[in-house]
Symmetry: C2
Subunit: 207 residues, 2 copies
DNA sequence: GTCTATAAAGCGATAGAC
DNA sequence: GTCTATCGCTTTATAGAC
């Protein structure tokens, strides 16, 4: 990928995190990337094209810090702990993370009115769910697949909701993280008891 | 309240649901309300004032269809059923409901960048949580208050997340409702076992 | 590929009559 | 309270030189 292209996308992420998709002005973005306005149009066609590419760019960048990188110096990590870590990763008061979360949340919200962003979001969401479902499966290997997927979907969607409220500022970081952890616990417990399946056994089995 | 004022606010909700906050053009809104542009400014000062008033208007309207109105002809409703009904109310493919949800979600999302919307959102969110916590308390009267509130917060935030994905169109209505129901079940079960509290007893009591 | 300059349109906001 | 008319800035997008 061209170096300028990348610079523009990085600037776009920054500006979206600062002003929102609604507040994104091609001129501000160009200044931020130290590039002329015309170059932006040259590379991305129009505003909508720019948004599409930025969405993908941000998604890939999130992948990079979400996947991989265990926290310690190589001790094999408990599955439950890894699950929590992954889900809590987005709820951190660290500038880079916050920027990515803000921009991603903004693009997700604008997708309600911009259908061309949907496919990308659907895909990214699907991958997230599969990964979380995998981790849940390692925590409770006896749980049926459908239960794992449902639980994962709920956790991922909850995270999105928490993220929005956290970014708005009506939910302090610590509280958001606590709620997320609580949900993980509740879902894992639920898996063990067979709760939350389409057809469920009301007083589930014991492992 | 003035009749025209109300007409303008109704039109604003409709236009926001159709085009988003960013897509709201005072001119379109005025046309929709069959009113002149100048009248909008006369009543609400400026664009921002209009948005503030619209947020409150939409919130009150949501209250009206969320609270009250039991479904049957007066059979006393099971608390658990009422809880589910309340939480599922927003996830319906009914034009009026969808319009309100869309506009509300849009305003919530824009609050990340418009601090003057926060107070209203914080309040509305708080009331929601209290109501859901109350219902949870009726389902499980022995659960401690802190657990009720945490569970309620998770349910409300999950609903917001589901709503967004549902409105984007990446989550079909039925699936969203199923996930919501599953979460209610998981949380209620969790209450019974003392799961998800700050300090929790790992193998909870039995009722 | 990248820039400067400019067209073209959009849109928020106000003035002033009724 | 409500309208018509209009101002003037902002913002997207393109033309054309290098």
């Amino acid at each position: 990928m061209n170096e300028r292209r990348r610079a523009i996308l990085e600037a776009a992420a920054r500006v979206i995190a600062r002003r929102g998709v609604r507040g994104l002005r091609v001129e501000e973005l160009a200044a931020e990337a130290r590039v002329s306005k015309a170059l932006v149009y040259y590379h991305f066609g129009d505003r909508a094209g720019l948004l599409r590419h930025t969405l993908r760019f941000i998604g890939e960048r999130a992948d990079r810090y979400t996947r991989g990188r265990p926290p310690g110096r190589g001790e094999p990590e408990d599955s439950l702990r890894e699950l929590e870590r992954r889900l809590l990763l987005e709820l951190q008061d660290v500038p880079g993370v916050r920027e990515n979360s803000t921009a991603w949340g903004e693009l997700r919200a604008s997708a309600v009115f911009e259908p061309e962003l949907r496919e990308e979001l659907r895909q990214a969401g699907g991958e997230w769910v599969r990964e979380i479902a995998d981790l849940l499966g390692r925590v409770d290997p006896s749980a049926p697949d459908a239960a794992l997927v449902s639980a994962a979907e709920r956790l991922v969607v909850l995270l999105e909701g928490l993220s929005t409220r956290w970014l708005i500022g009506v939910l302090p970081t610590g509280h958001a993280r606590e709620l997320m952890r609580g949900a993980v616990t509740a879902e894992v417990e639920g898996l063990g008891r067979g709760v939350g399946l389409p057809e469920r056994c009301p007083v589930g089995r014991v492992r």
